[in-house]
């Protein structure tokens, strides 16, 4: 992967000036390349990674395994994109193995998620079955640990 993208994946707030220093580029070139990635749709957005457990939002997240019948034209894609458009669906992946789609669905409580599953998801034509698991705690999200790292225990000066 382009080093520029690696830096932004690590810290989307990194300034073009600093990125230019790290990669030994001109600032203008960094800005142009970021703009190009945005235009091409490689960069699809910038988000903060939150430790939601700390915010006491009272929200629930469900992980839902879904079996579907592929359509004659469009295979899994058509039905998957139909499901993806629901605002409740945070993430959706096509999987190999015992089921076809894996969904991450957020709601304000169990009942809201349950009604999404029974009224919206399960009734979609082509959906064969669903299996819903509720997430209890997040330890690591997008490569970031949710616990605060211990302090630097190294000697302050060493040879």
């Amino acid at each position: 992967m382009d080093e520029l993208l690696k830096i932004l994946k690590q810290n989307a707030l990194e300034s073009p000036e600093n990125i230019a220093k790290m990669l030994n580029l001109k600032v203008g070139e960094v800005k142009a390349r970021i703009a190009e990635y945005e235009k091409k749709g490689v960069i699809r957005g910038y988000q903060a990674i939150l430790n939601e457990d700390q915010l006491d939002l009272g929200r629930v997240t469900a992980v839902i395994e879904v079996k579907i019948t592929p359509e004659r034209e469009g295979g899994f894609n058509k039905i998957s994109s139909r499901i993806a458009r629901f605002s409740e669906v945070q993430s959706i992946y096509l999987m190999s193995g015992a089921y076809d789609l894996l969904l991450f669905v957020a709601g304000k409580d169990l009942r809201e998620v349950a009604s999404f599953v029974s009224e919206k998801l399960a009734t979609i034509e082509g959906v064969i079955s669903t299996s819903t698991h509720f997430m209890l705690k997040t330890y690591k999200h997008h490569g970031i640990l949710m616990e605060t790292e211990h302090e630097d225990e190294r000697l302050k000066v060493s040879p």
Partner: protein
């Protein structure tokens, strides 16, 4: 009761130990350790944690009871893994049965090599600025240290011409360290080949400390052990501290022709017995899946190197481009202060710690060692503070 003629404590200490001055780093450490909230560019060890798979497998080896002595040479499984790695990465081939000795860090390996090879009075050439231990280690082994000074205007490279000026009939050993701590210098192939020719011409043994080899950012790393005809006269030292961030495991190794390995093993056997077993187990794990860990860390250091390099240029401090290790060695000679004064003032006024260059040899005076084994956020802040500091000094 003190009887007349009894010795003072100072007199009990052996002369050749007493006469070695305290390390400049220790003096500086004592000052820094009393201060709070400083950003330290003074740390000569990786800021990365040891890769998790290595730590996890160490715990597993303890659970399984790998807590006894190993063979003096070290676990054969580890020596075989080392042989494969050294062959692949350094292009030098060693027999794991007889030519590899596992040690407590490169520090022990160097000590063993010097003690096993030096007769009192033998001259050992080494280059400065350099790691703080070399001179003292040579003296502890009753050798005579001979300094070859490298210079900023040559990017701190070591050349054959410099060596020819210092070689005498008493010279027995040449000690090399590239990529270099504290300068970040590396040696291009041409220089390595010429130094090899020099060693052959004068029939010298070479000890090469290549602990930072994996952290090379521009060009290839060339080991002198890989040059034809050099393996026979080279003791190659390497370890796990830097590339795998395993400093506290204290694990290194020496690779050398069988008779030299046997001699070092003799000293090792009677003084250390063997390297810690759990660390040897950890090292086996490190070598079975090394590329990913090392590549990731190198990429991160590379970005920091670029950042520092450009920052020093922007603040007008001349700095030869550091091509390896994780140190930059800017020239602060134009600021009207000695290295020590500069470092202390920087610490006092901006709470940034960096080691005065003269801690690494007299010719390091006028320079400052800035280690970039710290987070990018720390580096950004440290550079902003240094820029402010330098501007103030220039007023």
């Amino acid at each position: 009761m003190k009887t007349s003629g009894s010795k003072s404590p100072r007199e009990w200490v052996a002369g050749h130990v007493r006469d070695i001055p305290r390390s400049g780093i220790r003096d500086f450490f004592d000052i820094v350790s009393t201060m709070k909230d400083i950003i330290s560019l003074g740390i000569g060890e990786p800021d990365f944690d040891t890769p998790w798979h290595v730590r996890e497998s160490t715990v597993f080896s303890l659970e399984r009871g790998a807590t006894h002595y190993t063979s003096n040479l070290g676990l054969l499984e580890l020596r075989k893994a080392v042989a494969r790695y050294v062959n692949r990465f350094f292009k030098a081939s060693y027999d794991p049965e007889t030519e590899i000795l596992v040690t407590v860090g490169v520090s022990e390996a160097l000590d063993l090599a010097l003690r096993a090879l030096i007769n009192p009075g033998d001259e050992v050439m080494y280059h400065e600025p350099c790691y703080v231990s070399y001179r003292a280690d040579i003296i502890f082994a009753h050798g005579t240290p001979v300094v070859v000074e490298t210079r900023a205007e040559d990017d701190f490279r070591l050349t054959r011409e410099m060596l020819e000026k210092k070689v005498t009939p008493k010279t027995k050993l040449l000690l090399l360290n590239f990529p270099n701590n504290p300068t970040g210098a590396t040696l291009p192939r041409k220089d390595v080949e010429e130094i090899a020719e020099f060693a052959k011409k004068h029939d010298l043994l070479v000890i090469t400390d290549e602990i930072y080899a994996e952290l090379t950012y521009d060009g290839e790393h060339v080991s002198i052990a890989s040059i034809p005809g050099m393996k026979e006269r080279t003791i190659f030292l390497h370890g796990f501290s830097k590339a795998w961030a395993m400093t506290g495991f204290r694990l290194g190794y020496a690779c050398a022709p069988a008779e030299l390995t046997e001699a070092m093993m003799k000293v090792h056997q009677y003084t250390m017995l063997c390297a810690p077993t759990m660390s040897q187990k950890a090292a086996i794990e490190a070598l079975t899946n090394p590329e990913f860990d090392v590549t990731q860390m190198r990429e991160e250091y590379h970005k920091r190197r670029n950042f520092l390099d450009r920052s020093f240029r922007e603040m007008g401090l001349p700095c030869s481009k550091p091509r390896g290790a994780f140190y930059a060695f800017p020239n602060i000679g134009g600021m009207g202060l000695t290295s020590k004064e500069f470092a202390l003032k920087l610490l006092d006024e901006e709470k940034v710690a960096a080691v005065p260059g003269n801690a690494f040899g007299d010719c390091g005076e006028g320079f400052l060692r800035c280690a970039y084994a710290t987070s990018m956020d720390n580096i950004k802040e440290a550079m902003a503070r240094m820029e402010r500091f330098v501007k103030r000094l220039r007023k």
